[in-house]
């Protein structure tokens, strides 16, 4: 059974939302940072056991708070990926409050928090870093290596159906 789901990617600018989308949809990565204007819409079909989920990914330009994102971008979203940059504390300092706001704004919409750029840390550093985060992310990912990217989107697909 084929289902279409709108997924929005939120988080500060430069955290790697576009890179994650690019890795997920096109299996590519570029070191070059390119700012997103407005929103870029991409589509990828994820095959689950019983469903074929057409994920329409809305890669939204980065903002320090989702309240600065136009409401129409969030309208009808079935799932949210909130991306933080593990190398920049400013991208996760208010994470708990931001997620609480989002849950309030879009009730019953699954949100996955992803700590991106894990490839820049050792395992020990990641362990130490996890203790400093205001809340535990669903996954630590790397758009560069592809680590946990598909797994995270697939998990979101499962939660949306």
């Amino acid at each position: 059974m084929k289902i279409s789901k709108k997924v929005i990617l939120l988080g500060h600018y430069g955290v790697g939302k576009s890179s994650l989308t690019r890795r997920f949809v096109h299996r590519k990565f570029s070191e070059q940072y390119s700012t997103t204007i407005g929103v870029t819409i991409e589509k990828k079909v994820v095959q689950l056991e019983e469903h074929q989920v057409s994920m329409i990914v809305w890669d939204i330009a980065g903002e320090s708070s989702h309240t600065k994102v136009p409401q129409s971008y969030k309208l009808g979203a079935h799932g949210i990926v909130y991306v933080i940059d593990l190398t920049r504390p400013e991208t996760y300092q208010r994470l708990d409050k931001e997620i609480a706001d989002l849950q309030n704004y879009l009730p019953n919409v699954p949100i996955l928090v992803v700590g991106n750029k894990k490839d820049l840390f050792t395992e020990k550093e990641l362990c130490d870093l996890l203790h400093q985060l205001p809340l535990s992310p669903y996954a630590l990912s790397s758009a560069k290596t592809g680590d946990n990217v598909d797994a995270m989107f697939t998990e979101l697909a499962r939660r949306m159906v």
């Binding site: 600018y13 700012t35 997103t36 204007i37 407005g38 819409i41 330009a61 009808g76």
Partner: protein, 634 residues
């Protein structure tokens, strides 16, 4: 606006926009097909991701309402770009979708936004870097503070342990001195070894304590005129026999231009030279050790000297040289195992040289030897200014000493020393007993341990001050720096660090003796003629106590009879008794009395002299009785 302009405007928007009408299932009812071509047979919800994503929303959109989406980058059936979308429901089954292509505009904006974000991210990283730098600095400071704290704790710990060691060490050294004098020839060598061992332990304790003081900057420099040549010779002399035993040549070369007398802290200079020369001798097993002193510059009355201590010993590598600069460190582990030592010697030298505003360098080659060069400056002074060490005379005025000391071995050592110096010691174990004794009887000196049970030295000093008892005091302490003296008693109270050396105790007692008023008697002669035999001394004292009042009575009687001849005989007969007990002031009174007998009509003066004589005789008798009691207790 005229028609032509209106046409141009419409043409401009027409090229960039498309209007699509579709039903609730996404099938196109109408489209201008300007930007992309849509087939009416395909649902837009299947063909265009944007609409696919918004299907649920648009299907439920109420009639007359619209939603706008600005700056959407997507693919519209092969046309990729940035678009603004407006979606409105006109009827139950009719939605309009207005697409406006703003690719040119948004593509132009993108670099501006990119620059803004790049700068913001760079600022974030800069702030992070600054914070990391500040934290690193804080951590370094913390580590530094921690290291210093540990270092200080180590120094304090070693100093405290060393202070604790001083008291028993004092006892060992004191007892060794006493045993040495009475030891049989067969025991002499063992006693000598005991003394050397105790001396070695004492030097280790002193090193640790000195290091503590140097670390805390509490080392005081006592600059006085001193003779450099005897100082160097004495140091060389002390290493002579050790070098001879090892078959190592020990040479000294004193530049003739070195002045005889300089002004500086001779103790500290000796300490520096002893340490460096001691190391040189310790680590040299063949060849020679030399000490040379030369003048390298004179400016006005200040001269700069270079002391060079060179050896042909085991030497050190560059790495080992670096290690020995650290306190408690030795060149390598084998050195400690083979030679022992605290590893403080060179650190102390380094600090002392710095304290004396000098410099030092060390050159060394493994298996070649080591050369240490020390440069120090001193004012040159006249040799006459040098104080020669006085020979401790026998005590004239200190006859009775109260010793307040809880340590039994120290008590024994002090008792024997005092007895050897013909002084009566009274021993008590705490401050309370000491005060009780002082209230009951007169003492010439109080030797007071600073740390005692029940009532310590500090409390005794305070009590003495309150009771206005002007007894001179020698305070004994393992840590002389911690002794606090009452301000007004500083001249009559001296502090002596443990372990006590007999010569140092004697020197302090000589200083205090000058402050004690002359005693009416001096039993030195009595000691001589009786060979200090208590029984004989007591017998003679008893005779004096019985005879002296009678002798004075005879004098008074002769004077009352106005019999000059009888008076002369009475004075003459009284004199030897007073001579035995060394009552020189009474003798002087007798001289005055005799002179009076030669001059008639001196009645008033005569009465005055005889009254003084009676009073002084009674004083002498009182003191003799005290001495007698002491002898009886022996």
């Amino acid at each position: 606006m005229n028609n032509k302009l209106e046409q141009e405007k419409l043409a401009y928007f027409h090229r960039r926009s498309q209007y699509v009408v579709f039903d609730n299932d996404g099938y196109v009812q109408d489209s201008c097909q300007t930007l992309f071509t849509i087939s009416s047979s395909v649902s837009l919800f299947d063909a265009i991701p944007f609409l696919e994503a918004m299907r649920d929303v648009f299907v439920q959109l109420e009639v007359g309402t619209d939603v706008s989406f600005l700056c959407i980058k997507t693919d519209l059936l092969g046309r990729e770009g940035y678009f603004n979308f407006f979606v409105k429901r006109h009827e139950e089954n009719k939605l309009t979708w207005f697409v406006y292509d703003l690719t040119e505009f948004y593509a132009y904006l993108q670099p501006w936004q990119q620059e803004r974000n790049d700068q913001a991210i760079a600022s974030e990283y800069l702030r992070l870097q600054q914070r990391a730098n500040a934290l690193e600095k804080e951590l370094l400071q913390y580590r530094n503070d921690e290291l210093q704290r540990i270092e200080q704790m180590k120094t304090v710990f070693f100093s405290q342990v060393s202070h604790e060691m001083r008291t028993p060490l004092n006892s060992i050294m004191g007892l060794a001195h006493l045993i040495e004098e009475q030891a049989s020839p067969s025991l002499k060598a063992s006693v000598e070894a005991l003394k050397t061992t105790a001396q070695h332990l004492s030097s280790i304790v002193n090193d640790v304590l000195d290091w503590g003081k140097l670390e805390n900057n509490t080392v005081e420099v006592d600059n006085k005129p001193f003779l450099i040549r005897p100082l160097v010779q004495n140091i060389i002399q002390s290493f002579q026999s050790g070098c001879q035993e090892k078959g190592v040549m020990l040479e000294v070369d004193m530049d003739e231009a070195v002045p005889d007398c300089l002004e500086g802290d001779a103790t500290r200079i000796s300490q520096i030279l002893y340490n460096v020369l001691g190391n040189a001798v310790k680590f040299t097993h063949e060849g020679e050790v030399s000490l040379s002193v030369e003048t390298i510059g004179v400016h006005k009355k200040n001269a700069r000297f270079r002391f060079t201590i060179a050896d042909t010993g085991i030497g050190m590598s560059e790495e080992e040289k670096k290690r020995i600069a650290n306190p408690y460190a030795q060149a390598n582990d084998q050195i400690h195992q083979r030679y022992g030592g605290t590893g403080l010697g060179l650190s102390i030298v380094q600090k002392l040289v710095e304290r004396l505003n000098g410099t030092w360098t060390i050159e060394s080659q493994p298996q070649q030897g080591t050369t240490v060069m020390i440069q120090l400056s001193f004012p040159v002074v006249e040799a006459s200014k040098v104080e020669t060490a006085p020979k401790p005379p026998a005590f004239q005025r200190i006859r009775k000493v109260l010793v307040a000391e809880d340590d039994l071995i120290n008590q024994k050592v002090l008792r024997q020393l005092l007895v050897r110096w013909n002084i009566q010691p009274t021993l008590v174990e705490n401050g309370k007993e000491a005060l009780a004794c002082l209230r009951q009887s007169r003492y010439d000196l109080l030797i007071l341990d600073y740390q005692m049970p029940q009532m310590d030295g500090k409390a005794v000093l305070q009590a003495l001050q309150q009771e206005k008892r002007a007894v001179p005091v020698i305070v004994l302490s393992g840590n002389a720096d911690q002794v606090i003296l009452p301000q007004r008693e500083k001249e009559t109270t001296l502090v002596l660090s443990k372990p006590i050396l007999p010569t140092v105790l004697q020197e302090k007692m000589i200083l205090l003796e000058k402050l004690i008023p002359a005693s009416p008697i001096d039993l030195q002669y009595l000691h001589q003629i009786t060979d200090s035999q208590p029984d004989l001394m007591i017998e003679l004292m008893d005779t004096f106590v019985q005879q002296a009042p009678l002798a004075i009575q005879h004098i008074r009687s002769a004077w009352q009879q106005q019999d000059a001849k009888l008076l002369h005989q009475a004075v003459h007969k009284a004199r030897p008794g007073f001579q035995y007990i060394g009552a020189t002031t009474i003798e002087q009174q007798l001289d005055r009395l005799e002179a009076c007998t030669q001059q008639p009509k001196q009645n008033e003066q005569f009465e005055e002299i005889i009254q003084a004589l009676e009073k002084m005789t009674q004083g002498a008798i009182n003191q003799i009785e005290e001495e007698r009691e002491y002898l009886l207790r022996l």
